[in-house]
């Protein structure tokens, strides 16, 4: 029977080898499973010809945006509001509170979210209700007489505006 010293040594070998194998696999698994922080390349979507964007009231438009995430590239329809009175600023229709879509109310001249009753002024700023910030503006540009927007989404229910990928 081997003495205890030799036994301890014999126990160290398999333990060391197991640790090495496990470390290799765990290291690869960590890199493999780590969430991707790659932001998909922002693409420009057409909103409307500039000639149509007139008046004082926000104008609702549907845009088509392509969103790439993981192995899929999805074509999605989104809604935005154009503010012709604010130099054609474009606001996302997604309520910054919990992500429903806000709608414009002509009579009250304000944005209203029907889910939890958040209200926003005509320029998108927060007036009352549970939302913690105003409506989210989106980057825009003009190209060949057409207003274009880079559609993006933001983390819900934060005061600060944090863009998602």
């Amino acid at each position: 029977m081997p003495d205890p010293g030799r036994r301890n040594f014999l126990l160290l070998i398999p333990l060391g080898i197991f640790a090495g194998v496990a470390a290799t696999i765990v290291g690869a698994a960590f890199r493999f499973l780590r969430p991707s922080d790659a932001r998909s390349e922002a693409k420009w979507s057409n909103v409307a010809p500039l000639a149509q964007l007139k008046g004082e009231k926000p104008i609702m438009r549907s845009i088509i945006a392509e969103h790439q995430a993981g192995w899929a590239s999805t074509v999605e329809e989104h809604f935005v509001y154009v503010l012709p009175s604010k130099n054609n600023q474009v606001l996302s229709s997604v309520c910054p509170h919990e992500g429903c879509n806000v709608s414009w109310r002509d009579e009250e001249s304000e944005f209203f979210c029907p889910c939890h009753d958040s209200y926003f002024a005509a320029d998108g700023s927060r007036t009352r209700g549970p939302s913690r910030r105003g409506l989210d503006p989106l980057p825009t540009r003009e190209k060949d007489g057409v207003l274009q927007v880079q559609y993006q989404t933001f983390i819900n229910n934060t005061e600060e505006r944090i863009a998602r990928g």
Binding site: N46, W71, S73, F79
Partner: protein, 518 residues
């Protein structure tokens, strides 16, 4: 005797473990009979097999975090693992080559067990190892189909052919395997379920039984047990060393050689020459020598016979056989082993040599590997999903508008979005103009979730065609607007009882009920 066990653990932990777990019994039951010298090093195949099984399980689970077993996504997600995910290529190569190495080491394990007449001393252990080899081969055959490239398609064809060669139940088993008469998305789902659920579950069952149940019950004296324990520690260390070396070799191999992945199955060129994984090459080569109808039968019968023969080795000792041969088990066993081993090695070698010698085959295989290489270095191209787009098309159809008939205020479509979506006319410029336009109050209160034309905005439901469902009459729709809770909706909807006038509710309900598919 208790004091002498586990001298390397603090007594307090040892006592706690022995009180609350059966680890001590398990440890004792795992002690094998001793042997010394060089032979001890040859008895390390079990450790390698155990290591490779664990590697297969872990890498397989990891791959499942990205792989999607659908005909649309399978190839794209495998390409994503291969090209985009860090360490994905290495993990997939570990899984791919690991299964081949596992087959090899199981054969070696059986060979050394055979050499020591393990089938005689531990019949159940022997049979379960033979069964394990069969399951590992089944795992390889089902896994081959999952990348859904040309190689996978032809691999599935061969598996199907082998299943079809079973006597009597051939056609039925082929159809059950395919889920129909052809290789379809159903086939992929079946192979996936077999590969990730059925086969691993059976392997786990067998391994657990092999380690903890299928053991001989023996009485050993205390002195003998201490001796065994000492021997076991040396043997665990030997197993670990060899397993570690094999793991290192496999890691380097997987880092150097990618697991094969060709372009998607539908792009296969007509002259495509399929080649199976290394562990099946012998069977593939064998099929070349057997004429048509016979081939599939023999391809099934021969391996089955070898397997059944090996598995039943412990019982091949009846009196008549004993009369004919001095040692029937040993003689039959040697014959089977030599036959199997010779078949396995010669056929595998011939397969390689033939492919290398025939210039046309060589050229075609070179072309294919060049294609695979080109595909591997080509940038990843994502799967295009069109869910929302088809919603947009529906929208045009439902309102009876032709894309060309209505001006498209949203301008030209984005480069990659086709067909062109007709932009919905803005509610603030064209309110209620035609019978298909929604009422203003709908736009204000409902369109945020249900879309300007009732097409729905994910995750909220489409309203088009909703009146065909039960409890969705105009009255019900007004009821939903007033008190959605009474209708048990998922996802839930806020009530609008006081937010909209009764006339407007009626107007909305009538308009929604009229939304029908053309």
């Amino acid at each position: 005797m208790k004091e002498e066990q586990n001298p390397y653990l603090p007594p307090r932990i040892r006592r706690w473990l022995s009180r609350w777990t059966t680890l001590e019994d398990i440890e004792r039951s795992l002690v094998d009979e001793p042997s010394g010298g060089v032979e001890a090093w040859t008895r390390t195949t079990a450790g390698v097999v155990a290591m490779l099984v664990v590697v297969q399980a872990v890498t397989g689970v990891l791959l499942a975090f990205y792989y999607v077993p659908s005909a649309e996504s399978a190839h794209t997600t495998v390409a994503y693992i291969e090209k985009m995910v860090p360490a994905g290529s290495w993990l997939r190569a570990m899984h791919h080559y690991g299964s081949q190495w596992l087959t090899l080491f199981l054969v070696l394990h059986l060979a050394q067990m055979f050499w020591r007449e393990g089938y005689k001393r531990r019949p159940i252990g022997w049979m379960s190892t033979v069964l394990l080899l069969g399951l590992v081969l089944a795992g390889g055959a089902t896994g081959y189909s999952l990348p859904w490239d040309a190689r996978a398609f032809f691999g599935t064809r061969v598996t199907e052919g082998i299943a079809g060669g079973l006597p009597l139940i051939g056609a039925a088993s082929r159809n059950w395997l395919l889920g129909g008469l052809e290789i379809t998305p159903i086939t992929l789902a079946r192979f996936f379920a077999l590969h990730v659920l059925v086969v691993p579950a059976l392997i786990l069952l067998i391994l657990t039984a092999r380690l903890f149940v299928f053991r001989e019950r023996g009485m050993v004296s205390d002195a003998e047990e201490r001796r065994l324990e000492g021997w076991m520690f040396g043997q665990v260390a030997r197993n670990a060393v060899v397993a570690g070396l094999v793991f290192l070799a496999l890691s380097l191999w997987a880092a150097k050689f990618h697991a094969p992945l060709g372009p998607a199955a539908d792009t296969a060129a007509p002259g495509y020459l399929p080649r199976p994984g290394a562990q099946f090459l012998w069977l593939f080569q064998l099929l070349k020598y057997l004429p048509g109808r016979l081939a599939s039968t023999v391809a099934v019968a021969l391996p089955t016979l070898i397997f059944i023969g090996l598995a039943s080795l412990p019982f091949l000792n009846p009196p008549p056989l004993r009369k004919m041969m001095a040692k029937p088990r040993r003689n039959i066993g040697v014959a089977l082993f030599v036959l199997g081993f010779a078949l396995f090695t010669t056929m595998t070698m011939i397969a390689y040599v033939e492919d290398a010698r025939d210039p046309r085959v060589r050229d075609q295989l070179a072309r294919q590997s060049k294609e695979e290489e080109a595909f591997r270095i080509a940038p990843f191209s994502p799967l295009r999903t069109r869910t929302s787009e088809s919603n947009i098309e529906d929208e045009l159809i439902d309102t009876g508008e032709e894309p060309a008939a209505s001006p498209t205020p949203s301008g030209s479509p984005t480069p990659n979005a086709s067909p062109s979506p007709g932009g919905s006319p803005s509610p603030s410029t064209t309110p209620g103009r035609s019978s298909t336009s929604p009422p203003d109050s709908y736009i204000t209160n409902c369109s945020g979730c249900h879309g300007t034309r009732g097409q729905g905005v994910f995750p909220f439901p489409r309203l088009i065609g909703v009146s065909a469902k039960p409890r969705r009459s105009v009255e019900d729709l007004v009821g939903i607007i007033n008190n959605p809770a009474a209708y048990d909706l998922q996802p839930t909807m806020p009530g609008f009882a006081t937010k909209i006038s009764d006339a407007e509710k009626q107007e909305i309900a009538v308009w929604v009920a009229a939304l029908k598919k053309r």
